[in-house]
């Protein structure tokens, strides 16, 4: 590898999950367990049905285009990509090509990988419809049309990535952008993200921007997780290096391979000469759509704050460490939870500590996600308030937190239930202190002989009598005062 550098490009497909309906159909756009429940006639290609463009999907796609610093076209066109496959009921997919220009052309994204800034050029971003999904079983294949027509954003990068780590860091950044911008949940478990990866090797030292220096491009289809992307790239780099070592690299033809998750290898699908001719032409049922400057400006103004921007604010405005801020923005759900907790008056640092340590620690340990918990920002703010007002101790708070996390109860309810509320009533503590002293005349004697550390023992007796609810500071102070009076 010392003499070669990998050139890696990605095609990242991400479903837009945040529209009410599908991209060219009025069927609901939501992830459903039950097959074939989100279907309109157009999704199954019934004769005479026509596509109708979902404006919200276009708006979100344009937003992604702007975030990626792409150029937006003056007029929006859609094209038909014609091919036969059982999951494609119309026999064509409505998508966009590069001519006429798609929703985004020639942008770039800067992201971080192992603390280093990298920039990848975006060739284009286009809006299209997803195909149905196939469920293979020994008895046969079932087609589920829930996914048919779900809006899909396909992003195509230039081969500016050079390692599996960079590719994954790029994908994670994109996932974060889609989530923060409210475009998609970008959940690969729901099949919302799918990637095609292309890998070639080039001799080190040559000009990377000149395609003439690039090696033979190998495209790997159907990589459906970030881990898969990492493994597929590493496997493919190794495979191509071996071909070089064996002197067979030049014989290798441009080809498409398939990522086989089970064996962790890539397998030959077809060579370039067998590439499918998709016979693209402009979709005649969708008139060209003028994208007005006013609308584009409006969308630009609506772009929500993304992870980086929020992270900076946490560091600069709340004094959070970079380390913690990075954790807080890792998932939009964490950052949203954090900001809401603060907006309810909680101390930013305390809230950050609770989330980064206790909340994420518990999620990790219990293998839960933010969707599984009943803890709300309201409850966390309440818990922090209970501590700062001295009603419960930090130690107690940890128990309360564990109980509040999934029980649906509020911290106050738990504190009351467990009789935890800290006793800060001075008169009551004086009374109990004297009870303790009355019960321990021998200890008072020891005190008088100069063993002042018995105060700690006696304070412990107060705590015991109050089942730990007495304010420990107050209890010690009271005991010290009361024993002097004897």
């Amino acid at each position: 590898m010392d003499n070669y550098i990998a050139l890696i490009g990605l095609e990242m497909h991400c479903e837009i999950s945040e529209t009410n309906t599908k991209v060219f159909s009025s069927a609901e756009n939501s992830y459903k367990e039950d097959a074939n429940t989100n279907v309109r006639p157009v999704d199954m290609g019934f004769p005479g049905t026509l596509p109708v463009v979902n404006k919200e999907a276009v708006r979100l796609a344009l937003m992604a285009s702007m975030i990626l610093k792409c150029t937006q076209p003056e007029y929006l066109y859609f094209e038909r990509k014609n091919y036969y496959y059982p999951d494609l009921p119309k026999g064509f997919q409505i998508t966009q090509e590069t001519k006429p220009a798609p929703i985004g052309s020639y942008g770039s994204l800067t992201f971080e990988c192992h603390g280093e800034e990298k920039t990848v050029r975006i060739n284009n971003l286009h809006l299209e419809e997803d195909a149905a999904s196939s469920d293979h079983s020994p008895e046969g294949t079932r087609i589920n049309y829930n996914r048919a027509g779900v809006p899909l954003l396909e992003l195509v990068t230039e081969p500016d990535l050079h390692s599996a780590d960079e590719a994954v860091a790029f994908l994670e950044t994109m996932r974060s952008i889609y989530q923060y911008a409210g475009i998609s949940e970008a959940d690969s478990k729901k099949g919302q993200i799918r990637c095609d990866v292309n890998v070639s090797l080039m001799e080190k030292g040559k000009d990377m921007k000149d395609p003439k220096n690039w090696g033979t491009k190998i495209e790997i289809k159907n990589v459906n997780s970030f881990g898969g992307v990492r493994d597929a790239i590493n496997y493919e780099i190794e495979r191509q290096l071996e071909l070089i070592e064996d002197g067979k690299y030049d014989e290798m033809e441009q080809q498409t391979r398939r990522w086989d998750e089970e064996t962790g290898t890539t397998k030959f699908m077809r060579s370039k000469v067998d590439a499918i001719d998709y016979k693209y032409f402009v979709e005649p049922n969708i008139p060209k759509i003028k994208l007005s400057k006013a609308w584009l400006d409006e969308i630009k103004a609506q772009i929500p704050r993304l992870a980086n921007e929020r992270k900076e604010a946490y560091i600069n405005d709340y004094g959070i460490s970079e380390y913690d801020a990075t954790i807080l923005v890792k998932e939009k759900a964490y950052a949203d939870f954090y900001e809401e907790t603060i907006s309810l008056g909680a101390d930013p640092k305390a809230a950050s500590n609770w989330i980064t340590t206790n909340l994420l620690g518990s999620l990790n340990k219990l293998e839960l996600t933010m969707d599984d918990i009943t803890l709300t920002p309201d409850m966390l703010a309440e818990l922090i308030d209970l501590i700062s007002s001295g009603k419960i101790s930090s130690k107690q708070a940890k128990d309360v937190f564990a109980d509040v996390l999934t029980s649906g109860k509020t911290p106050k309810e738990v504190v009351k239930e467990k009789g935890m509320e800290q006793m800060s009533d001075a008169g009551e503590i004086v009374k109990i202190a004297n009870e303790v002293l009355d019960e321990n005349p021998d200890v008072i004697e020891q005190y008088k002989k100069g063993r002042t550390n018995v105060v700690d023992y006696l304070t412990g007796q107060i705590m015991k009598k109050t089942k730990g609810t007495a304010n420990p500071g107050l209890a010690r102070q009271t005991m010290a005062e009361e024993i002097e009076k004897r």
């Binding site: 290609g45 004769p47 049905t49 596509p51 009921p89 001719d277 016979k279 032409f281 005649p284 008139p287």
Partner: protein
């Protein structure tokens, strides 16, 4: 006998109680069976059609026919193709739904050339449709069944669809009115597509005013068709006043001058002579009519431009026909074999030929030479006509090269000498122009027609001129009296 009357007359009679909707339906069904026997015009006769309440709506309670490429809920809708021979849709085309809202009663579904892809009426899966004026002749297509039924007096109107001339040519061959309005005036939702950028819905009737009434009811913006436009302020029927004095028309020398056809037969000669007489009539009505010249090379490109664009779109549009979700599923070891068998067995050879052409012109190595060039020439033709519309209210031209052709020995291949004359109505589809055919006479006891085409959204002007001419010619409301 009522079914040979116009919509206006029938509405009057229904309102004053001279006849009931039930009686009209009974007569329409009886005539349907009669014509089926004679000409094979229907895929389905709806014997259980129910009468509708007669209201102030002109169409209420009156029977009509639906071309079988309109999706009708619960009623067999075949597109006259074996690939959909058992297909019963669960939704109704918007245009039909609109007619139903107006109280219209469908009594049958009419035969077409398979999926509208033919001009003879001979390629439907139920067999050839014969012309009721002379059963040895064709109706032309693709709205063959609709044209035959309206001409025979099965009802006053039927729906049609028009991708090249599929309403306007059969209307001429059957001696009736055929009107397709501006592209987008009637929603195409639920119309089985042939070539989406050229497909129009429309109506076949026996009078211009009836055509206006029917399209008034069918039209309207539809949330399911992005190419449909809002026309609620356009009232076609109410706007026809017959005032045409000072209107300007033109006809095209290259198409209408008999000297352009050195090998003209007697039918063509008579047809053009008859047409020129109607030009004189226009002048008598106070219209200015001028002869204009259009580049012959451009005109000659017309048939190929149409073939390239329509076949390309058709290939893609009909890729949904695989037999998996609807249609009779074919046998096969694997899905691709099932698909191949279904399509091989289901489509007629004519359609398959068009699919091959469509695929060929879209292949990446051919696309620019054929498909993109065809789009460019389409634009040139449309611009040429738009230029004419700057000066003229409408272009007036003869339809075809004469009356209906003989079925025997007919092929769907055109005589190169009259190819452009046979095909010029396609310009109306290229530009989405409103276009109407009306009967303008007889040759050898067979009807012939002329066509008026105007600029987009100028439907009222076109209808008005057609109405004025119709009123002077005496073919309004004609039905087949004594067919051979």
């Amino acid at each position: 006998m009522y079914m040979d009357k116009t919509i206006e007359e029938l509405h009057e009679k229904l309102k004053n109680g001279e006849v009931t909707s039930q009686e009209l339906i009974k007569e329409s069904l009886q005539k349907s069976h009669e014509l089926q026997e004679k000409c094979n015009a229907f895929v389905t006769i709806l014997d259980d059609a129910e009468p509708r309440e007669v209201t102030d709506d002109m169409l209420s309670g009156i029977p009509y026919g639906i071309k079988d490429n309109y999706s009708t809920k619960g009623i067999l809708s075949t597109g006259s193709s074996n690939t959909l021979k058992d297909y019963v849709p669960f939704f109704t085309a918007t245009a039909i739904e609109n007619l139903e809202k107006h109280g219209a009663v469908a009594t049958n579904k009419t035969v077409l050339d398979e999926f509208g892809m033919g001009g003879t009426g001979t390629t439907g899966h139920t067999g050839t449709v014969k012309n009721p004026w002379d059963t040895s002749r064709m109706c032309a297509g693709s709205s063959a069944g609709s044209a035959a039924a309206v001409a025979y007096g099965v009802y006053p109107y039927a729906t049609g669809s028009d991708t090249g001339d599929s309403i306007r040519k059969p209307a001429a061959y059957c001696g009736i009115v055929g009107y397709k309005p501006t592209y987008g005036m009637i929603s195409r939702y639920g119309l089985f597509p042939f070539a989406s950028s050229l497909d129009h819905c429309g109506a076949l009737t026996r009078s211009v005013k009836d055509a206006a009434i029917v399209v008034d009811a069918m039209k309207g913006k539809d949330k399911y068709d992005m190419t449909s436009f809002d026309s609620k302020d356009i009232h076609l029927y109410d706007s026809i006043d017959g005032k045409v004095k000072g209107k300007k028309l033109c006809y095209i020398k290259e198409l209408c001058d008999i000297n352009m056809y050195p090998h003209a037969d007697s039918e063509l000669k008579e047809h053009l002579k008859n047409f020129m007489n109607k030009i004189e009539l226009c002048k008598k009505l106070g219209m200015d009519v001028e002869e204009v010249s259009v580049d012959q090379t451009l005109l000659n490109a017309l048939p190929s431009v149409y073939v390239v664009i329509s076949c390309a779109e058709a290939t893609s549009n009909m890729s949904n026909l695989t037999g998996f979700i609807f249609g009779p599923r074919a046998e096969g070891d694997k899905y691709d074999e099932e698909m191949k068998n279904y399509r091989t067995q289901g489509f007629s050879p004519l359609i398959k030929r068009r699919f091959v052409i469509g695929s060929y012109v879209l292949q990446s190595q051919n696309k620019d030479r054929y498909f993109h060039n065809a789009q460019r020439v389409r634009r040139l033709l449309v611009d040429t006509w738009k230029d004419l519309f700057k000066k003229y209210d409408a272009v007036i031209l003869p339809v075809g090269s004469g009356p209906a052709k003989k079925l025997e020995g007919s092929k769907d291949i055109l005589d190169p000498n009259t190819a452009v004359l046979e095909d010029h109505l396609q310009i109306g589809n290229f530009g989405g122009f409103p276009s109407i055919t009306i009967p303008d006479g007889f040759i050898n006891n067979l009807p012939v027609g002329l066509n008026l085409t105007g600029n987009c959204y100028d439907d009222i002007n076109v209808l008005n001129i057609a109405y004025a001419l119709e009123s002077e010619m005496g073919y309004k409301g004609q039905t087949v009296k004594e067919g051979k």
